[in-house]
């Protein structure tokens, strides 16, 4: 394993890999720093550029975007008080107050170093856990895969913040998208509604691009002209800092760094939850375990270290899930999955054994992206601050044109562009009506696999009780039921608390 990793690390220093990694990381840093532009959107923008590249080059660029974006988001969080991305919200709580107290350099570099250290600690888990997990998944039969995918869907539906029912319906709706077109076993046409190009089914990448890009862009467009955040940009901030001092501030709190990294990794491994939950949860945990929780929010280093170490470790967790099981850990890895399938590569348990150079190349890119981020920010953090003032009226049409190019290039057909447009409308409406997007996308990605494994299992043995009596399958299905039950209980508890708070408020009034 380590030999392969060492070889991949040496190979990654070739110009053909270093250039996409450098460009990807740079674009990621800028995309992450731009308020209103998420990492998902940045990776969607980068996707069409990877079509003309080798699979590893494309994946390296995307990993660069992912790592760069997670770190880049803290720049505006610390210096402007505006989170560059959802997974940097908690960084703002202490980063911005510290900057306002006259220590912008300390706030920024605490975040950057915590990101890099959290990310590199996450790399240890990524490299060492992916192989054994994939080996475990290799022992799975169709019953276990079916149960695993059901578990992923139910967990995502249950873990979203809005209504559990809407989460489940959103996941089911995603699966509905996959039943349009020929059936996957015998190729018999079904539910094509008389549309010829629908016979091949609905490709998931334009759906994913449309849903996420439009939901995010239109969400920003709704508020255009009513928020004016970038004007708060501070000119002439002093970012000079002693790096040794900052590093000591982090490593002198080893438990904080380690616990935040573990939280990030665990949240990353869970499908489709993402860095924003990791960022908030790690901050919350740091506050709970702190000897001085009352100081959180006033600009203390613990708040910045916890939130930033967790969101970079979250990237490693997401990569573990996609590389070992073929299940995207979040929207960014869902786009990566799309990029892999375009090149005819199927992520999953066989991915590491069948595509070892590619898998270890991804590990190497993830590791190298961290020092690269460090160098990029040391040299150009001021330039990044200038770029974030690019008006959205220029940015949004450019992003949407790149979405069209990405969708069109998938099959050189306008059909995929129309799918993109329809998905965009659907994604925006879903957000407006309170339906979470993550379960929908996971349904679109896993729907086919759920059907194929269901049919395979019934073709092998028509006894349906095997889904419950086979130990791993039964355990996974039991966990699905449990995750829904826990989510239901949590939603009820939250509702009760909110009702009590409202009653108390009206009594006070």
């Amino acid at each position: 394993m380590f030999e392969l990793l060492a070889t991949a690390l040496v190979d990654a220093f070739q110009v053909k890999y270093l250039v996409p990694l450098f460009i990807g990381t740079l674009v990621g840093v800028v995309g992450g720093a731009l308020p209103g532009i998420t990492i998902t959107m940045t990776v969607i923008v980068v996707l069409p550029f990877t079509f003309g590249l080798e699979p590893l080059q494309g994946l390296i660029a995307m990993i660069g975007v992912y790592v760069g974006g997670e770190t880049g988001g803290l720049i505006t969080s610390c210096l402007l008080g505006i989170p560059g991305k959802p997974s940097a919200v908690a960084t703002t709580f202490d980063g911005f107050p510290m900057a306002r107290k006259g220590e912008p350099g300390r706030a920024l570099w605490l975040g950057i170093w915590a990101s890099v250290l959290g990310g590199l600690l996450g790399a240890i888990v990524l490299v060492s856990a992916t192989g054994p997990l994939a080996a475990l998944a290799l022992r799975f039969g169709p019953w276990e895969y079916f149960a695993l995918f059901i578990l992923a869907l139910s967990m995502v539906a249950g873990l979203v913040e809005s209504s559990l029912l809407k989460g489940l319906l959103s996941g089911a709706l995603g699966c509905v998208v996959t039943i349009l077109g020929n059936d996957p076993v015998m190729g018999q046409p079904r539910l094509t509604l008389g549309i010829p190009w629908l016979e091949g089914g609905v490709p998931f990448l334009p759906v994913l691009i449309g849903v996420f890009a439009f939901a995010q862009i239109m969400g920003e467009v709704e508020r255009m002209g009513r928020r004016n955040a970038v004007e708060r940009l501070q000119q002439g901030v002093d970012l000079v800092v002693s790096h040794l001092k900052v590093l000591w501030e982090i490593v002198s709190r080893p438990m904080l760094l380690l616990w935040s990294t573990i939280i990030g990794l665990l949240i990353g491994v869970l499908p489709a939850i993402g860095g924003s939950a990791a960022n908030m949860l790690a901050y919350d945990q740091a506050k709970k375990f702190s000897r001085h929780p009352e100081k959180f929010g006033s600009g203390i280093p613990e708040g910045i270290i916890a939130s930033e170490a967790s969101n970079n470790a979250n990237v490693a967790g997401s990569l573990v899930t996609i590389m070992a099981f073929g299940i995207p850990g979040d929207a960014v890895t869902a786009v990566m999955l799309g990029a892999l399938t375009i090149h005819g590569i199927q992520p999953g348990p066989l991915f590491i054994s069948q595509n070892a150079p590619l898998a270890y190349g991804m590990f190497a890119a993830y590791i190298l992206a961290h020092p690269l981020v460090l160098i990029l920010l040391a040299l150009g953090v001021r330039w990044v601050l200038r770029i974030v003032i690019v008006p959205k009226s220029i940015l949004f049409p450019v992003v949407l044109v790149l979405c069209v190019v990405g969708a069109y290039a998938l099959g050189n057909s306008m059909a995929t562009v129309y799918v993109l447009f329809v998905s965009g409308i659907l994604g925006y409406l879903m957000v407006k009506f309170g339906f979470p997007l993550a379960p929908f996308i996971l349904g679109v990605i896993l729907g086919d696999q759920i059907e194929i494994n269901l049919i395979r299992s019934i073709m092998t043995d028509p006894d349906l009780s095997l889904f419950v009596t086979r130990p791993i399958s039964g355990l996974l299905l039991g966990a699905s039921v449990l995750s829904i039950a826990v989510a239901l209980w949590q939603h009820r508890r939250m509702q009760r608390r909110s009702d009590t708070a409202q009653a108390a408020e009206s009594a006070d009034f």
Partner: protein, 143 residues
């Protein structure tokens, strides 16, 4: 959603089973559509009977602008096969840029034109020339 899933469910009843496969092509779609219909009904019932929490609206949202953005994008998608990538993208970027930041002077219109021209040219050259990604050609314009 309820109506759509019931409509599709009805369509699956017409699918013929294959003797080679123990479950036909309609088995899984019926399962998914059945679950979707039940969940849609449950969401509808919850929305109907649950006590309403009226949250005070603090921010006025610009829906006409969103509608305008969708309309322009729809026109762009419609125009692509007829005008081709270069011309329709030029028009789309200009229209969207002007929609999001209405030009109030000649300088503003020049900015719109420059942004549209640079974006179209850059995207075209990068994708067609360097990444060999073929972009849509126009039936009317032939380029």
């Amino acid at each position: 959603m309820l109506a759509a899933s019931l409509f599709l469910f009805a369509l699956t009843l017409g699918l013929k089973d294959n003797p080679l496969v123990p479950i036909g092509p309609g088995y899984y779609p019926r399962l998914v559509l059945g679950v979707t219909a039940v969940l849609a009904l449950a969401v509808f019932a919850v929305d109907l009977f649950a006590p309403k929490h009226v949250e005070p609206r603090t921010e006025k949202l610009n829906y006409p602008l969103v509608l305008g953005m969708f309309a322009v994008f729809g026109l762009y998608c419609g125009a692509l096969p007829y005008l081709g990538f270069r011309l329709s993208t030029l028009l789309y970027v200009a229209a969207t840029n002007a929609l999001l930041d209405v030009p109030k002077s000649l300088k503003g219109w020049l900015r719109v034109a420059a942004v549209a021209l640079v974006t179209t040219a850059l995207v075209y050259f990068v994708f067609e020339r360097y990444l060999t990604v073929l972009l849509p050609r126009g039936r009317w314009t032939d380029f």
